[in-house]
């Protein structure tokens, strides 16, 4: 006897879709002579630079906005997978590939489709929330090993 299909929990369905596609509209960025619209899920991270923000996409291209990071974080608040990693960076958790510990004890993340040495630091104050969001258990956290120097090309450097 065929089983009766169970109704899908809308929240579960939303969360499943959310992991793949952002609920946000494409983000307008400034290019020379034009505005370019970047799909939020294609953003790897956003970093504060002199004069504004660089939005780094999955092709490692940088697009300019002139907001403050706090103002942009406010615009991105409807997408819980954009995570404020530090005072100067927001990361897209969908695109995080791995977590690393540098020789100096800084925790950094690398991204899917970006070169492995392109990394963003997670501030100590944000790390607990990051671990929770990414499902990093205490054991997984404890397994993080210090890397030799020179592995990272941190986005801020």
């Amino acid at each position: 006897m065929p089983t009766k299909p169970r109704p899908v929990d809308p929240d579960a369905l939303y969360n499943a879709i959310l992991k793949l596609v952002s609920p946000l509209k494409p983000v307008p960025c400034q290019a020379v002579g034009s505005m370019i619209f970047i799909n939020p899920e294609e953003i790897a991270f956003i970093t504060a630079v002199p004069g504004g923000l660089d939005i780094v996409d999955l092709n490692n291209a940088r697009w300019k906005r002139f907001d403050t990071l706090t103002a942009l974080a406010e615009k991105f608040k409807d997408d819980p997978l954009f995570f404020k990693a530090s005072r100067s960076e927001i990361i897209n958790l969908r695109q995080v590939r791995a977590l690393h510990m540098t020789a100096t004890g800084t925790r950094e993340v690398s991204f899917k489709s970006l070169p492995a040495d392109v990394r963003v630091s997670i501030a100590d104050s944000s790390y607990a929330a990051f671990k929770k969001a990414m499902g990093i258990s205490a054991k997984a956290d404890a397994s993080l090993k210090f890397e030799p120097e020179g592995r990272s090309r941190n986005a801020k450097k």
């Binding site: 596609v21 400034q30 002579g33 505005m35 504004g52 906005r65 002139f66």
Partner: protein, 433 residues
Amino acid sequence: MLRNSLDAGTFLALAGPESPVIINSGDIAHAWREGTIAAAALLDGSVLKSYDSFDDIKKTLLKTGLFIQIQRSAIANFRKIKTVSPLAKGNYLLTFIGQAAPVELNAAYTAEAKKLLEVKKLDHVEPFDRPTYWLMKENIKHYQKLIYLMTKEELLKNFSDSAGNPIISRLIANFLYQFALRIRAGEAEPLEGGNVRSLWYMIKPAISKLGALEGSDHYKTLSEVMARLVTHKIVTYKEYGLTEEENWIIGKTNPHVILLAEKRSHFKFIQGFNAQYGISILAAGGIPGMITMEFFTTALKKAITQSHLKEIPIITLTDYDPAGDLVVSTFIDNLKTYNVPKTKFIRLVQPGVFTPEELEAYKYSLVGENEVTPAMVKKWLKKTGGINGQAYGLETDALMITPSKVKTLFYEKAAPYLKTIKYGSWKKIDTSY
């Protein structure tokens, strides 16, 4: 792309090569009227015709909430727009993700586009930082290594086009910006009394490494790039420690009244007006350079009050010809660049101040003049009427033959703007020229 499937909207049957093909509306970039039917440009770059009329297709697609009208007979999928670039007359060029051909957004339909794209302007992002935008436009980037110390290979790697040809203007722009940043950070010293040529000597060896010194006047390139960076408020002449000739004086009692002389040789003469009326004077020597404008306006703005800014009279002792007007219009434009926007152009040299005999004696033909093009003459003639409708001009010196007449005329024109009339004495200063 997953996003395409999620905001699909609806299915449509369009005409395939052999039979109807079912298209997801999320895969359509834009569609337009073609005769009695519609044509749709798909994201993969292909174009398919419809079986139904354009109006029916338009109705179906607009109902999805993902399409907007972009022309009288064209609609576009706003979710698939990749870039928006301003064109002339308020129109915009839209490009799409994927391979679909770009299409124009007509000025009449921009309000809806702004609303759906959730942007305040289609020209640039908001908030907008103009200096940073110009840094992007000039291709100015951060370089760890001092540009003037780079090897030929490094220079070519950083400042050449896709064919490997050096782009000297880009090299110069980056050098100027890097040097300014280093001065601001205290890592380099300002030139202290140098001029633009001092900067040229710093970068000249790097340009030489690229073999680009011959054939082009790159000192001129540097001057132009520098003026551009200053105009866009990326750098200032002052921060480099540069000085200029200072053929100008800011008035003490009527600084808001500016007497602009075209010829540098008239500087001594116009100092008399500064001494007598406390007005500001500038003998440009042609079109005032940006360095002069920066120093002049900085000093001017310190001297004038907010109420003065309502209207700044620019009384000109310039030739009555297209080149003279170009000096004034450029001066006024550059004042705007430095936030002195409201000016009034009052010319001293004009046909009305001469007798018919004098006019006949002093006028000269603008036809064949080297300094101006026929188009400039035509435009100027339309604006001013020339002399009795003819393409003739007058040199400033036609008026300067009688200095007392200049003084009378000046007072006549300046009096309504002078806050304090009597300030000093003309006699105290030698104004012969």
